[in-house]
Symmetry: none
Subunit: 211 residues, 4 copies
DNA sequence: TATGAATGAGGATTCATTCAT
DNA sequence: CATGAATGAATCCTCATTCAT
């Protein structure tokens, strides 16, 4: 039955159409949410016919997946270089670099992120985000391993999870919540939290906190 | 269109019916997600007719709102007492109390929370969650004000935002992510982060981190 | 997703609705053919909403299957008694009975039969018709076995196939073609063909024809 | 709407394209049935663009008509010579010739025939098949008239109808049903039926059968 | 109040057909 | 002539909601 598993556009014109559709989907999603983003609505927003949409996307989910891919790609394009740069900097400076880049990447896409965050788990979108997170985790793991040679693999795993969590979630919450806090002060707080954790977390540090 | 604004159930049997419907909605939501939670499906799960559902809820959104209310109420029932207790404890102990209670409350409801997280901003569910957050914020603000008399109101606001953020988001992420980290180790890390921030964050502390 | 595998109507009203839908589908099919028999068209013809149709039928194919079932049932109701009567009559009289009954049953349903004949093979409709045919075949096989004890099983099979074929196809073609031949003359010809085959077909008869 | 009434291909290359399209349509029809035989699918199968298809066929029906034409032509190419030969042979031999040729012609095209059989009456495909049948009928009528000079025109009409019916339908049913009967035995039975009818059917013969 | 049948607007998707290149 | 992207009316089907009993 379904035989159009996302056709490869071969002409320049169709590449533009794909582009327009994805952009339109992102716009509708961020403006009006998942429920309002019907295929007809998206097609209208893109200025194409409903049929065109199905030339390039197998179904609605496939289109939404493409939007996620787009966001993930953009995000990677900003954060991965920052992670690379951070690897050559000292811990605190590196964290500043990464948090700053993350925040930049998210600020552009805040409303869309909200819409995409709101999707059910288990689908391929989750996989994409999981892959992105895995990539970031690898970087952070490597850095932490270098800075904290005394930590066992299990402890490294734990410290890394929390660092990635903080580095992703705090900026996300900041752009979604829009608290009345200046950007640079938020960054300072976030960096301090991450730095403290990166430097001190672990078996000994725990004892200290308990005392 | 929607007109009957959630009739107050006055007899015992009605109250049970409302109960059954909300529970059924929660079950379907957490098992199969927002999209699959149709009103007919929920009614069937509750063992009532679709018509009956509309005796007690103005429309689908109203029912989902009731589910959120239920979750928020349960959450409050656990966290507010913890916040009260924390107010009489020292900072670190208080944080342990609150983080523990938050984690407990969330662990019971993890899949449902995932489903409810998926809400567009501006609707009434957001308001409910916002209200809950406001309440938690008030407690934290008061405690922080007491412990850190040197902070200005603006600084207090900032520190409080981050504390609430950490206290809510870290447990939520922990239950949704299910990372391979033992609960007590996660709690220790989270508490350390919160405690550090509660005690040290502020104008001077920032300078320290920058140096 | 699909969860309504043809719901059992529980009230009198719904039984009537099902009835009306099947009848309407049959009417549209016989008047305008498979392609024109859209679900909305059928619903309109039945005087119900499109949604109602899906209360009782899983999808369009399921409805068309129900129409076939209906036709097959009506057909059986006429032909099986005739086959039973024929079993107690002599060969020629029995054939007259069966051909007559078959012709009666088909004449009522001629245009509908044309529409249903025109469906793709392999689906469940084919199975229904196959089952009906199997039933008729069993009767004919039994009669032939009694009348022609000299035939081997393989020969019986062959003679039976042809008899069933003639008994079904000739009346069908007669009602679909509407040739300018009076009914009783057609019946006489058909009966003669069947009788000749029933009585003479077989090893010896073949030799005769070859000579 | 439909306007270009099947352009005459004038160059060799065009003729080949038309050829490829018709063949592709036939292949898709016989493999996957009417419903799956979309114009795009057929164009893809033929290795041409959807647009090209409309260079040579006014619309989908026109293409399907061309497929029918092709089948009818092929059929005629086999059966008409057989009918001509049969006219110079004695009755039984002639019937053998015709039934054999009919069976050959149908065996090659069985699945396609099934797909094409599924046509609503009144369309142009019906006309084509009717024309073919008329042609066959003329031959049979002439032969019968010669062999049975005692029959009145009305009786001739009746006998002819049945003979044509048997000569067409029995082979068709045989190739579509694929009963476990060897071809030559089926042919022998069919020929016997036809021969008996050709020789004996008529006013007197009826009396005989009735007695 | 409860029921469940009925509703119908609206959504996803298809496909015959057109048209710019 | 050929291409293949684009079209959009039409189709199947869903589901929140209503209403007669």
């Amino acid at each position: 039955m379904a035989e159009n598993p996302r056709r490869q556009p071969q002409q320049e014109r169709s590449r533009q159409t794909v582009e327009r559709i994805i952009t339109a989907a992102a716009r509708v999603l961020e403006r009006e949410g998942d429920r309002a983003a019907t295929t007809n609505r998206i097609a209208a927003e893109a200025g194409v016919s409903p049929g065109s949409l199905y030339q390039y996307f197998a179904d609605r989910d496939d289109l939404l997946l493409a939007v996620t891919e787009r966001v993930v790609t953009e995000f990677e394009a900003r954060v991965v270089p920052a992670l690379r740069a951070a690897a050559r900097e000292d811990v605190v400076t590196g964290i500043v670099t990464v948090v700053g880049a993350t925040l930049d990447a998210m600020e552009e896409r805040a409303p869309l992120l909200r819409a995409l965050t709101a999707r059910v788990p288990g689908d391929r979108q989750e996989e994409l985000l999981r892959a992105l997170r895995a990539r970031v985790t690898d970087f952070v793991y490597a850095s932490t391993a270098r800075n904290r040679p005394e930590l066992s693999p299990v402890e490294l795993e734990r410290v890394t999870w929390m660092l990635v969590e903080l580095a992703q979630t705090l900026p996300l919450r900041y752009v979604l919540d829009r608290p009345p806090i200046p950007r640079d002060e938020f960054v300072r707080d976030a960096v301090r939290l991450l730095a403290t954790h990166a430097i001190e977390a672990g078996p000994r540090a725990d004892d200290g906190a308990q005392a």
